[in-house]
Amino acid sequence: MTTEMAVPPNLIGVSGVAGAPEAADEPSVRPATQVRARGDAQTLPDDSIKIRVEDLRAYFGASEVLRGITLPIPGKQVTAIIGPSGCGKSTFIRCLNRMHEVTPGTRVEGKVLLDGLDVYRDDIDPVRLRRRVGMVFQKPNPFPTMTIRENVLAGMRLNGLKVSAPDELVEQALRRVALWEEVKDGLNRSGTSLSGGQQQRLCIARAIAMEPEVLLMDEPCSALDPIATARVEELIHELRDAYTIVIVTHNMQQAGRVADRTAFFYMGHLVEYDLTDVIFTKPKERRTEDYITGRFG
């Protein structure tokens, strides 16, 4: 599902993709997917919502991979997206920071409101948007030719931002991801000299050095061993206080461990969205039940 790129795509400046901005303001003729989200009606007050997704549809050419997703994402919480391969979960988070449109032949309809601001509006610069909505990918992808220090600063530099106190920023970001103690004596070593788990934490440090408000994580642990996974999950718990995190995962136990809320996607539809405790003990939808208990397909 995940497209791997040599350069961290959250740093690529792409704008003016045809189709998306115009389509965003058109009301959809199709009804929104019916979603049972009783827990949310009771526990998610309007002012706690960081990202409001409304009737989101995404296409690869003529193929509609997201079929009208309406989903409120609460701020400073962890929201997990689960579902089988091809359900649209990676596409979904790539729509949140306008990464989907980077792929040629793609198109987006519907609304993504970040603090009420429609990110698909004509005058929104996707590059600036991605500074607010950062992304971490499946495979750790530090820049191979850069040192650890340069990697942390890469986001700022590639965005042409002045860093007034780089040493402090590097230390702060690396401390935030609990990597500082492990690398402080070798900041000029290559980023790729680190272990897989360390590389992934370095990529998270690079993302948070930009001081984003939202952190999107696309299968961030799928290439990591259980101990490295546990460290990233511990980090997610830490980061939750400061960031809104949306994580896509194939690993349901991981959703159970890290997420406050879990959304189950199937074939481009949102089937169920509720508190993680509810999803894993008494889901309301049969399709959710079948998927998480391993009765699918």
């Binding site: 136990q253 003990t281 008494k282 079948d290 998480i292 208990t293 391993g294 699918f296």
Partner: protein, 229 residues
């Protein structure tokens, strides 16, 4: 419900379910047998009934072990998780019911055959209700029938009411005729055992409702939730 993609897992759950059913059937058999022995004053049957308890104890250990293995290796969720947690709890109730049926049988062995017949008739009547509650609770478990389980829960008050009447009746007999004290005490114990079996059947019913619907019926609204959790 659809089957699990992993057939070995499906089989593990199926075997676990069958073992619970076997244990339930044994407990039901033991309860009925203890009541028959009491009703007919059949000391021989009472002795045989006591001997049934060891198989129930063995099944309890077997089921616990299977549940722990599934938890450790499969990390069950949703209905599977509710099935496993329900099973872990109801085996304890079933095992206690077996013990109580054994206790009834022990008192039958000690009792003489003739005195206080009217109270015995009330106890036999109570025993029928209790035994039926157990039967219904087990059927509700097998069929995943929450409505049936709720009817079991409601019947507990009937048993409690009968039990509440038996004690003053026995007390009256004891005051009237001190020679009846030894027998009356044994009958009082039997009444208590039966009342406890009904409580355990009620627990079964509550757990079945949880297993099926995910609703916790225990301590029906008497305890505030949230603050402690």
């Amino acid at each position: 419900m659809a089957r699990h993609t992993d057939r070995e897992y499906e089989q593990e759950l199926e075997q676990l379910r069958n073992t619970v059913l076997l244990m339930g059937a044994r407990v039901e058999q033991m309860t009925k047998s203890a009541l028959d022995a009491f009703a007919r004053h059949d000391v021989e049957l009472a002795r045989e009934t006591i001997a049934l308890d060891s198989e129930i104890d063995r099944l309890e250990l077997d089921i616990d072990e299977r549940c722990v293995k599934v938890l450790a290796r499969r990390q069950p969720v949703a209905s599977d998780l509710r099935f496993i947690t329900t099973t872990l709890k109801i085996v304890t109730d079933l095992e206690r019911m077996g013990d109580l049926a054994g206790n009834v049988s022990e008192r039958v062995v000690e009792l003489d055959s003739t005195s206080l017949l009217p109270v015995r008739a009330s106890l036999v009547q109570m025993g029928h209700v209790v035994s039926d509650m157990l039967h219904e609770a087990l059927d509700a478990f097998i069929d995943g029938d929450a409505a049936r389980a709720e009817r079991v829960i409601q019947r507990d008050s009937v048993v409690d009411a009968t039990y509440a009447k038996i004690f003053p009746e026995l007390l009256g007999h004891m005051m009237e005729d001190p020679k009846s004290v030894a027998t009356a005490q044994k009958l009082q114990s039997i009444a208590k055992y039966l009342e406890r079996v009904a409580d355990h059947a009620t627990n079964l019913g509550e757990m079945v409702v949880y297993m099926v619907r995910g609703e916790d019926k225990r301590h029906s609204g008497k305890i505030g939730r949230g603050a402690a959790g």
